[in-house]
Every structure is written in structure tokens, then in C-alpha cells.
């Protein structure tokens, strides 16, 4: 009967139900979009780190993120690393912001990522058209299809200029977005060095260290740190965290996204609280009758909480449908929204909690019912 009463109370006033559901729906959509953007941004920031075949990253002190590695390191660090017990392989990569000159004039910033994929370094993600062999061709690079228009090119084979060098689109990636909105340009290591003004050198932004399978990564890191001066050694997770901190929190972008999500929760809570309170007020005589009939206060609280729970489930389903439509629509934009099962489950928990908290004011109201009011109607 608790469910029946809650359900009927809820659906008795369709307009109020609609207002409640719209409140929850927009709250869910807002939170889903904000957190989806946060997740999307996080993935963009860490995608290259996640795809690199490395246990440890050696970088100059002060390197802030994958894109902002600071000063280039020479080969000394590489050789020292190679001589460290437990190290199986050390692969240099170059990552640098550079200037892309469009064929029709004008320029934009790009992030040149130079590595030799055969050595298990950073590979271009999700190659859609072309292969790594195509990128190894003279002047060839790979860029993401999303940025073709921004780069002033149309298709494979088109040419442009990065810094002092001419480049030709040799392959296209798909879905490789850049949080900085400066597209990644993948190319072999030696060409990357040339494009960032270090032609013929053995300079690198990072050294990717692979540890023998039977070795303890932490121990190898300690060995590396004792040998390398002026360099840091981070695990993959540490470097991910540092990059996320740099782009999401030092720039304030992540704070804005999380703040937006919190605002969504707050707005949703207020709307649901308001409608639940007014619904409870409208049904107060029925609750007083229940009390007069001898129901426990817990029974009445359960009715209100069930109402809140029903609102949460219906609002969540509607909100998620809309949120998923937005997620799908965002996939072709430079800032795609990500929805994961974990985020969906988290949103459901947030919705239920939001509605439960919203029910507090109604419960307080009901707790103060004087059952004697049943005689004054």
C-alpha cells in the first residue's frame, strides 16, 4: 500500500509531477553533460599517455603535462637510463607546440608528437585512413579528421608547413581530440625533431622506459632517480595525474565543469524539494488521517520517500535519454561528451540521493502533523 499510495499521490497532480520531472531531468542532463565533458576532457588529456607503451616516464624537472614537457633532454639521460638495472627499453619521443601554416594563409598552433612506433612509443591513435608506413613516407604526418578544416586542409595528400618544414597529410586519425584545441600532429621522431627546430640532434621531450616483466617498477624508478640528475621519473599514473592537474585545475576548466555539475545537483534538489513539500502539504490531511489510524511516523516517511524515489527513477530515465542524445550529438565536435557505465550508475546514485535529501523538508512537515486536525476538516 505504501507504493500504491505514493504512486497515486505522485500521479494525482500531473502538472506538479511534470514540474518535478522537468526539474530532475534538467538537473540530470546538466550534471551528465558537465561530468561527461570532464571525463571527455580527461580522456583527451591522458589519451597519449595511456596509449604509450611505457612503465615509467623520464622528463625534465618541471614538466607540466604531455604537451608541456619543458626543455628538451639530450641523449645522456637515455644512455644512463639504458644502463640502469631492470630497464628493458628506453624510447625517446618529442612533443612540442609548433606553428602550422595553412596553405591558404594564416596559422594555428599544433602539438607535434614525434616517435618511432616500431620501438613501442606513442602511436597515433585510431588511424582511420592510412597506416604507420604512410606516415613514414617523406614529409608525411597524421592528423585527426576533426581538425582538417581548422588546419586549412581537406584530405590525405594536402600539404602545409610546420615551422621550417613542409608536411603532407599521410594518414588520418579519428576521434583523437586535443584538450588544448591544438591538434596533435603525429610523425616519426627524426621528422618531429626537424619540425621543432632540433634537426639532426638526439634531443627528446620524454624518455619512455619499459621495465623487464620480472622487475619491480618502483625499485627501477629508485635506481633511475639515483642516476639521473635534473630529470624526474614518473609512473604512468603519476604523469596522468600531473597532466590532469595542469589542464583541468590550474587552468580552472575542471573546476568550472565540476562547479556546473554541483550547480545542477543543487538546482535539481531545490526543485524536487519544493514540489515534494507542496505535494506533502496538499496531502497533509491524508497523512494526518494515517496518523490518526495509528500508522507509525516511519510508515508516513516511507510514503514520502517512495514518492521521492519514484520521481528519481522516472526523472533519471528521462534525463538519461536526453543526456545520451546529447552525448551522441557531441561525438563529432572538438569536445565530445563521454558517458560511461560508471558515470551512469553514479548519476543514478546522485539522483536518488538528491531526491532523498529533497524529501527531508516534506518529512519535517509531516513529522509536525497534529493528528487532531482530522477533526477540524
Amino acid at each position: 500500500m505504501i507504493f500504491t499510495l505514493a504512486f497515486r499521490n505522485l500521479f494525482h497532480d500531473r502538472i506538479r509531477l511534470a514540474v518535478t520531472l522537468v526539474g530532475i531531468l534538467f538537473s540530470i542532463v546538466l550534471v551528465a553533460v558537465q561530468l561527461g565533458l570532464y571525463l571527455g576532457a580527461s580522456r583527451m588529456i591522458t589519451a597519449n599517455i595511456d596509449h604509450a607503451d611505457a612503465d615509467l616516464w623520464v622528463m625534465p624537472f618541471g614538466a607540466k603535462s604531455f604537451e608541456d614537457g619543458g626543455l628538451l633532454m639530450g641523449s645522456r639521460e637515455r644512455h644512463q637510463a639504458l644502463a640502469t638495472p631492470g630497464v628493458e627499453q628506453v624510447t625517446p619521443i618529442v612533443v612540442r607546440f609548433s606553428e602550422w601554416r595553412k596553405p591558404a594563409g594564416g596559422s594555428t598552433r599544433v602539438v607535434v608528437v614525434g616517435s618511432d612506433a616500431e620501438e613501442g612509443a606513442v602511436k597515433p591513435l585510431s588511424l582511420k585512413n592510412g597506416t604507420w608506413e604512410d606516415i613514414k613516407a617523406p614529409d608525411a604526418i597524421a592528423v585527426d579528421e576533426t581538425y582538417l578544416k581548422d588546419l586549412g586542409v581537406d584530405k590525405i595528400g594536402d600539404t602545409a608547413q610546420i615551422g621550417p618544414g613542409r608536411v603532407k597529410i599521410g594518414a588520418l586519425t579519428s576521434g583523437v581530440r586535443s584538450f588544448t584545441q591544438s591538434p596533435y600532429v603525429y610523425t616519426p621522431l627524426s621528422r618531429a625533431r626537424a619540425l621543432v627546430g632540433a634537426e639532426g640532434s638526439d634531443l627528446a621531450t620524454f624518455h619512455l622506459v619499459k621495465v623487464f616483466a620480472d622487475q619491480d617498477v618502483e625499485q627501477v624508478r629508485a635506481n633511475l632517480l639515483s642516476r639521473l640528475e635534473g630529470a624526474e621519473v614518473l609512473t604512468k599514473q603519476e604523469f596522468r595525474d600531473r597532466s590532469l592537474r595542469q589542464w583541468l585545475f590550474r587552468t580552472g576548466a575542471g573546476v568550472a565543469l565540476i562547479g556546473g555539475a554541483l550547480l545542477g545537483i543543487l538546482v535539481g534538489t531545490v526543485i524536487v524539494a519544493q514540489t515534494l513539500y507542496s505535494s506533502t502539504k496538499d496531502h497533509i490531511n491524508e497523512f494526518a488521517t494515517l496518523r490518526a489510524l495509528g500508522s507509525s511516523s516511519g510508515y508516513i516517511h516511507k510514503v514520502i520517500l517512495t514518492q521521492a524515489g519514484l520521481s528519481a527513477v522516472i526523472g533519471y530515465v528521462l534525463g538519461m535519454v536526453l543526456a545520451l542524445l546529447i552525448v551522441v550529438a557531441s561525438q563529432s565536435t572538438p569536445l565530445p561528451i563521454v558517458m560511461t557505465p560508471q558515470l551512469a550508475a553514479g548519476l543514478f546514485t546522485v539522483t536518488v540521493l538528491m531526491c532523498a535529501i529533497s524529501a527531508v523538508s516534506a518529512i519535517v512537515k509531516v513529522t509536525k502533523i497534529d493528528p487532531a486536525t482530522v477533526f477540524s476538516r
Binding site: M1, L290, G294
Partner: protein
């Protein structure tokens, strides 16, 4: 007098133990200078198998007394015992349990849940007592049939007449077999025919099911159904009359004499 009524009267004589006993009940309403003494020392006992009418003018304290007897309001002073339990010092939840276990309520405005069917309105009275499932549903149907609403089980209050709604309320009040049924102006919102039907039902509940029924009323049409009439004025019981054996109604005229004597 019918055979059943005679049997019930005989039973009362053998076992006159009151199921509800109120002694020196005082109730002050409001605070400070605005305090009103609604009840000024009321004594009242309810005996099983008896339909008692509590009559009096507006503002005489009828509903306040009913609220106190129903453990909905607590007295300022005095002692109330319901089914052997003294109510003094009980918490609101303990009082709710006492109501749930021993008292059924019938309200002037029926107080039915508009979103629930007749059957569901009765079922909720068992649900708050933790009685669910098929047996509870069957019991509710049975009681609704007893009050003549077997054909209206699925109807919502909005589709029932006032008399039918009050009968649903009666069914809700008795479905848990309480020893006491308290009714607040049960006929006030009903026409003569429906009012009589409801009073007949209350009398049957008292006599055939051996319950104590107390109805607050100022409706003289209810008098023929009463076993006892208690008159209250200005917060005091000023008269009480029982139906003499063999008569269909209490001799109300005596009350007037008592009232004058009290004055």
C-alpha cells in the same frame, strides 16, 4: 427490541467492565491570557456492546473530548485508560500504537484517500498494522460487503455518494476489529436516509460485534439508535441517560431535568 439487542444488553449486565475509562479529564487550549478551558473535569466510561451518543452544542467540548478519548490529544490533567493501558506519559508513537490496536475512527468528512479505491481505503487501515497480502484483502472485501458495499469495491471516493463514502469509513474503522469505535458527527454530512443507514450500521457494530461505539453528534435523528446519551455543555458532562430495557430510545427528556438540576 430485537433478540440480538436483548442478548447484547444481557451480556453487558454480566460483564460491565469498561474498555475505556476517563477520569477528571481537564483540557486547556491555547496559552497565556488566551487560554481556554475546553474540558473542566470530565468522567466517562465506555462499555462493550453499547452505542453512546455524546451530544452538546457547538463549543461544548465534544470534539476535544473525542480527540482525548481517541489518544489523539493528551489531557492537561486527568486519567485515561484504554483497554487496560494508562495513557499518561506515553509518547506520540506509543499513543499511535494504542490507537492502532484498540480504536477505530469515523470522521465527519469521511477523510478517505481520494486516490485510493474503496477497497484500498479499507486496506490501508490494515496495512498500517502490518497486515498485508491475500488474507488482508479478503478481510477488507468481507467488511465492505458487511456495510453493503460489496458492489463498490473498486470505486474511488469521487464516484461514491456521501452515504457510501461514510460506509467505507465505517468499514475502515472496524476492519481491524477494534474494541472502541469513535465517530465524529457521522451523519452531519448525510441526508436523512443515509444518516439513518450509517447509524443503523454503528448500532449493529456495537450490538452484534460487542464493541464500544461513541458518536459525537448534535443530530436528533441519531437518538433512536443510542443505548446511552451523554450530554456535554461548557466542558462538563451535564446529563447521562441509558435506554431503559424494552424501549427503542433513551428517555431524553430526563436529561433536560438533570441539566436544570446541574445548573
Amino acid at each position: 427490541m430485537t433478540r440480538k439487542k436483548q442478548a447484547a444488553t444481557a451480556a453487558r449486565k454480566q460483564s460491565p467492565e469498561p474498555v475505556l475509562s476517563a477520569t477528571s479529564i481537564v483540557k486547556e487550549l491555547g496559552r497565556g491570557a488566551g487560554t481556554v478551558m475546553a474540558l473542566k473535569g470530565v468522567d466517562l466510561q465506555l462499555i462493550p456492546g453499547e452505542l453512546t451518543l455524546l451530544m452538546g452544542p457547538s463549543g461544548s467540548g465534544k470534539t476535544t473530548l473525542l480527540s482525548i478519548l481517541g489518544c489523539i490529544m493528551t489531557p492537561t490533567s486527568g486519567e485515561l485508560t484504554v483497554a487496560g493501558t494508562k495513557t499518561a506519559g506515553l509518547s506520540p508513537d506509543e499513543l499511535a500504537i494504542l490507537r492502532r490496536d484498540h480504536i477505530g475512527f469515523i470522521f465527519q468528512s469521511y477523510n478517505l484517500f481520494p486516490t485510493l479505491s474503496a477497497l484500498e481505503n479499507v486496506r490501508i487501515a490494515l496495512d498500517v498494522r502490518g497486515q498485508k497480502g491475500y488474507e488482508a484483502a479478503r478481510r477488507c472485501e468481507e467488511v465492505l460487503r458487511e456495510v453493503g458495499l460489496g458492489h463498490r469495491l473498486r470505486n474511488y471516493p469521487g464516484n461514491l455518494s456521501g452515504g457510501e463514502q461514510q460506509r467505507v469509513a465505517v468499514a475502515r474503522a472496524i476492519v481491524s476489529s477494534p474494541s472502541i469505535v469513535l465517530a465524529d458527527e457521522p451523519t452531519a454530512a448525510l441526508d436523512g436516509e443515509n444518516g439513518n443507514a450509517v447509524m443503523e450500521l454503528l448500532a449493529r457494530i456495537a450490538h452484534e460485534q460487542d464493541r464500544s461505539v461513541l458518536a459525537v453528534t448534535h443530530d436528533p435523528r441519531t437518538l433512536p439508535y443510542a443505548d446511552r446519551v451523554v450530554r456535554i455543555e461548557d466542558g462538563l458532562i451535564v446529563g447521562e441517560e441509558r435506554r431503559p430495557e424494552g424501549l427503542d430510545a433513551p428517555e431524553i427528556t430526563d436529561l433536560t431535568k438533570r441539566r436544570k438540576a446541574h445548573a
